[in-house]
């Protein structure tokens, strides 16, 4: 249970979980299928995060429900290699999250500078 009340700011966007953030960030570069997403997430996080297929597809199912991503038909799409891409709503959510993180980083950096001075 989280004992932190988080105000919904930046257009009502809630902070995203790390796997969701990484999935959206990965898809921001272009359409990707499941295995490529797993590899890209590992690369994006410098090997720190490795999502299991259960976690990945659970997150993809929720993102499809929220319509932040959509299935994308590629020329060579087979049933085993379904590609996903970011929707406009998904891109907006990612931008909001990046903005929120920037704001947080700026505030934390300012506090550190104050302490050093």
């Amino acid at each position: 249970m989280r004992h932190v009340e988080e105000r919904q700011e930046l257009g009502g966007a809630k902070p995203l979980t790390e796997p969701v953030l990484l999935i959206l960030a990965s898809l921001a570069a272009g359409p990707c299928h499941g295995y490529a997403l797993m590899k890209d997430i590992e690369g994006l996080s410098n090997g720190r995060v490795r999502v299991s297929t259960g976690t990945l597809y659970g997150a993809l199912r929720r993102l499809l429900e929220d319509q932040w991503i959509e299935r994308f038909d590629q020329q060579d799409t087979s049933r085993e290699k379904q590609a996903y891409r970011l929707t406009m709503a998904g891109r907006r959510q990612l931008e909001c999250e990046v903005e929120r993180m920037k704001q947080l980083t700026r505030a934390a950096s300012a506090r550190l500078r104050t302490k050093e001075a």
Partner: protein, 161 residues
């Protein structure tokens, strides 16, 4: 029993609609990741296997909770509602036989609503068959609306309809 068979067996813990959409993809992703991790060494491979199997065991109850707590119209955005689809092996004529036998006695608006349900279902099947999942989702949503409309019309006319 090889690892992929164990993985496939654990996938049976997930809801049927989830499996119908993601099983093939998950097996493919697991197979590729498995080969890659095996090449990295025994420790990496062992860690990978534990993470994957534990991930499945933990995700399955969450998917069941999501299935039971999510509205079917919202869930249909990502997964087809199998309860509303004609079961495999049951001909369309048989599936809609009861509707046809009643059609002579039913009012026009109900007959029209039934035709709309059948139309949406047929278009959804065509869309799935051609991997047009956007179209399938659209007709799945239309199908839900048509069925709800049909239910309301039947409720308005009484239990005989």
């Amino acid at each position: 029993m090889n690892l992929k068979a164990v993985y496939r067996a654990l996938l049976r813990l997930f809801p049927e609609d989830y499996r119908s959409f993601f099983e093939a993809e998950m097996l493919d992703a697991f197979g590729r990741a498995s080969e890659e991790q095996r090449a990295r060494g025994l420790i990496a491979y062992g860690r990978f296997v534990c993470t994957e199997l534990a991930g499945l065991v933990l995700s399955a109850p969450l998917e069941w909770i999501a299935k039971t707590t999510t509205s079917s119209s919202i869930r249909a955005r990502s997964l087809p509602d199998l309860r509303l689809m004609r079961p495999a092996g049951v001909p369309r004529e048989v599936w809609f036989a009861s509707a046809r036998t009643m059609s002579a006695a039913v009012p026009d608006e109900i007959a029209e609503a039934e035709r709309r349900v059948e139309f949406c279902l047929r278009r959804m099947e065509c869309a799935i068959a051609t991997h047009d999942f956007q179209g399938a989702r659209f007709y799945s949503n239309e199908d839900l609306k048509a069925r709800e409309n049909l239910r309301l019309l039947r409720a308005k006319r009484g239990p005989s309809q």
